[in-house]
Amino acid sequence: MRLVTFTRLNLLTILALSMLALTPQAHAASATRATEFKLENGMDVVVIPDHRSPVVTHMVWYRVGSADEVRGKSGIAHFLEHLMFKSTDKIPVGEFSKIVSRLGGQDNAFTGHDTTAYFQRVSKDRLGKMMEMEADRMVHLRLDEKEVLTERNVILEERRSRIDNNPSALLDEQMNAALYLNDPYGTPVIGWYHEMEKLSRQDALTFYKHYYAPNNAILVVSGDVTPDEVRRLADATYGKIPANPDVNPVRHRPSEPPPIAARRLVLKDPRAGNYSMQRYYLAPSYVTANRSGEAEALDLLMKIAGSGTTSRIYKKLVVESKLASSAGGDYSGYGLDGGTISLYAVASDGVSLPKVEAGIDAVLDDIVKNGVTEAELARAKRSYLADYVYESDNQATLARRYGWNMAVGRTVADIEGWPEAISKVTTDDVKKVAAEYLNPRASVTGYLVPDESGVAKAEDLPPPSPNGVLR
């Protein structure tokens, strides 16, 4: 799911999110920061010491997400994540979070297309207890029928809050469904309502028993702890759980056919407020890149094209032509199956969306044709390296960065080699990925139109294109 946001100030948030999985290793820190090892049962462990404060972040990442669901059971990965807080043979119903809380800790969990993660932030002397509890629910979950049905209502309310009450989120959902013809990324992480309301206890247990196992999980601990301590505690907890030989270490997903037609859609909604547009393109991710440096070049391309007030799109559309009140773009490169380039703009009062779209396309065409300047590239690189240093201030952010990368199959060496990989990207590399991946046929464009009357104005329809393909 993409973050859809229209305020200019939130661009920083978008950037931070897109940076979650990155580790530019700047001069500030030593070349290797994390220690990595494997338990005998195959569970991966990553430890990232930070001794400034006596607390730790403890995370377990499963190599399973909503894109691994059986068709027709959308939302089961996320539903199970909720149900993991119910009970085990040792922990009574609803007590998991309460125990963490009584120990002065905070806990939560989240689900994505490729991964599901559980975490606690606690005082370092509680780490052993957290591992004990997390290991316990990895294999001893107990689900009561009534509890399951009650929680199903909770996820339906969650869907209403996040998606159904929010036209931008609805547009995002529709666009993803149109962008992916075959890949399960087209199905929302939270699920389609009509399938969510039928999910059962048995669906959850089937998913759980197959995917939740130490050899399908990654333990990430950051904070005031040493690798030796983590190894000792992990051996005594997770280490006792037998591996599940049925989990296939290679994750097979239906893949996309060659894209041949640009897709377009219009969502008319009385709650839309402003006229806005989004566009998503299929692109490779760090995992699926065709050649080394490709994903890094895409990151730099979108930083220059669309990130913040110094970006080309913002300067052109918002500052100069004033077609849009805000506009920008982003590259999301941490999907197992692929990445995406995304663009957005909110039309200025009285400006039609096709005009805004043409304005963005002119910026992109210029980059495809003429590339970016050395100065722009240098600034973008500096900015990424600085982001790394800033993020090294936060142990929870570090834990997420390593966990997410590992969950999609990247290694500690990949993560810690990122700054160097970024620094090697040339303006030619950027130009090349721009030409290759700003491909209209691999894109979907969505308009969000405020529509009090239920009738769209003519100018909201897409303009005719000379080539029959819009970009």
Binding site: S53, P54, S97, G104, I155, G273, G335, A386
Partner: protein, 471 residues
Amino acid sequence: MLGLPRGIATVVRTVARLNVAVALAMLASVLIPSFSQPAAAMNIQQIQSPGGIKAWLVEEHSVPLISLKYAFDGGNSQDPEGKAGVANFITAMMDEGAGDLKSEQYQERMEDLAMRMSYDDTKDSLYGSFETLSANRDKAAELLKLSVQEPRFDQDAVERIRQQLIANLIYADKDPGKVAMREWYAQAFAGHPYARPSSGTVDTVSKITRDDLLAYHKRIFARDNLKVVAVGDITPAELGKLIDDVFGGLPAKADLFPVAKTEPIPGGSQRVIDMGVPQSVAVFGLGAMPRMDPDFMTAFVVNHILGGGGFSAKLMEEVREKRGLAYSVYTYIQPDRYTSILVGSVATKNASMAESLDIIRKEMKKMAENGPTQADLDAAKSYLTGSYALRFDTNSKIASQLLGLMQEGFGPDYVETRNKKIEAITLADAKRVAARLLKPENLIVTVVGKPAGMKSVIPAALRPVAAPSRG
């Protein structure tokens, strides 16, 4: 690929964003002896610059970063009558050019220096945050100084930001949660500056002029209403010079409008605002003890048990865990400078809103009549004391925490004494304060959506003669 957190991440963010003081009051305590105390590890120095500006400093030289947080008394309650939104406008203008640097030049310079600067407004304060890499400290501080002392507020930048702010307001007008909160304040504080929408309205923001921004800047950016905290790679002498450079040129005295102390209008009311959404959102609240009231801390603990403690809280237990009525339900206490409130929110499908609010009222009443149990109190104390250190694990978080203490008039020793205050709370205290705090008959409720079977119930005495002061 945005994850879907199961729990209360949103709530936590909301609380933290609304008021630094809230988070502080909640967490400023350490008791569990096994915890290393943040205060012990953290040497809070009180410094005075050669120019006479006082600041707190925590030196942390292990990461090459400096985080500076500062606040000027006088937030959006200082907006001139009829010009609601000026403070918010200023927060978006501070990187739009200063001194000789026009907007674009200023922003590129910021990016070249990897300097981070942001502003935020609350009812009572204007917050600034500045972060720099140690290596760029002097140059970044020079840029910050320009913005603090000589913002340009160029007309084209003013118009550009105005369009963004208006787009945001139009967007927010369609967000049931935001509308419910805005209308709650309008209802609770009719006639007081706190009743005004904090970011203004489309109408007021359309009327704000460059002169309004200049006038606000001149009144509010001064030295006698300034609080400064620094954390990171900087010595006391270096910090003294930096804050003299940045703030020394400001006027000695701020020129603040008087703001009267106030309380939410007692007597209770319920407003239903129609919006075509599948899920209604309610905001509910009443008056609470001011920050310096001897019962404040106890009230804080009582609120934690009722609705502030995530999955440990009664409301979460009754509304979500037992009945599956909502994804999110919570309360918090917010002690503003001129009032204090206990306020909460719940979002549920239209058919369930009446039932959910009924449960919430019943739980409040029960807590008022019986108070919490000893086990509830012990669990709350254990969390509030034990989780303290989690608030001090990054430079930036430490700076925010300390700034809140400074603003409330506490000394650095608060960090060490706070735990004892929480521990000293007895069950008798909690019962007494629960009865004093929780008066469901005073509950002011605003609901946005199409809640089944609910309509506005506003006692004649509470109906404002004219529209509340919204301008």
